[in-house]
Symmetry: C2
Subunit: 158 residues, 2 copies
């Protein structure tokens, strides 16, 4: 994890991809979003989605899973180089959570993060604030998912 | 599920409550958000959260679970009265996803929905569009979670 000073607007990072299986879609939906088009292939095909579709909350949760895994890997890499690792703060929220295309069973979604804006925090001088756009793109190159995250990032010399 | 004509701005509905257990918090986090303060009591106590804290995506997913269960119950009740049940469209997105207070192990969150605005769809005359604020309030009456959902709701005589 980097310090605020090491970030810049427009930088983009691929954070990993994930294939949504029918079983995985149904398991998540059974627990958290038991709507028919998330639970049954035929119902999915007959719905607006046109197939067994992952819950939007499943897609968002998988995005989070990959963000966390990527951050851990970055931290391990930095530690291995002997660098000080910045501990980012928890996110206070997300905005503009959008499911642009259905994520259907068998789809592979590639997630990426891009820094949209950055500023110093007025109220907390030890911190900077990034707005990070996280996106998910399917195997046909179509944007399927997007969410804008606010991140508190420590300043290097605070 | 009601038709667009049966909804009004300001109407509020309690949609159920849920107690977040330590086991449930860790299970979700292990799958989707394996950060230390979501996985371990001591790490949670030593974090900004002050205790083992549920992933925000867990809180959002539980909110969805209760929304779906409530909608199914409403549909069953309406069907039992012999009324026509309106089939709402899938939500294209959510906005202003906010985790205002940590949700810690043992917390019981009561969720509610309130219609913030309603309008006819310009492009799809058979549908109306509601903005619905979903909130989660903890057992101390503190607002912990909030998200604004867009819902497509069929018009009665379309």
């Amino acid at each position: 994890m980097r310090f605020f000073e090491d970030t810049e607007v427009g930088e983009r990072r691929e954070i990993g991809s994930f294939t949504f299986t029918a079983d995985g879609i149904k398991t998540f939906a059974g627990q958290f979003d038991p709507q028919r088009f998330h639970l049954d292939e035929v119902e999915g095909r007959n719905s607006l989605f046109g197939g067994l579709a992952a819950s939007g909350w499943h897609v968002a949760s998988v995005c989070m899973k990959l963000i966390v895994a990527d951050a851990k890997q970055l931290a391990r890499d930095a530690a291995a180089r002997g660098e000080t690792v910045a501990a980012w703060g928890p996110s206070p929220g997300f905005r503009e959570l959008r499911w642009i295309k259905p994520v259907l069973a068998g789809d592979t979604i590639s997630f990426a993060s891009e820094v949209e804006s950055r500023r110093a925090s007025d109220s907390r001088p030890a911190w900077g604030i990034l707005q990070i756009r996280n996106t998910g793109t399917n195997q046909r190159g179509e944007l399927a998912f997007s969410v804008l995250a606010t991140a508190f990032v420590p300043r290097r010399n605070a």
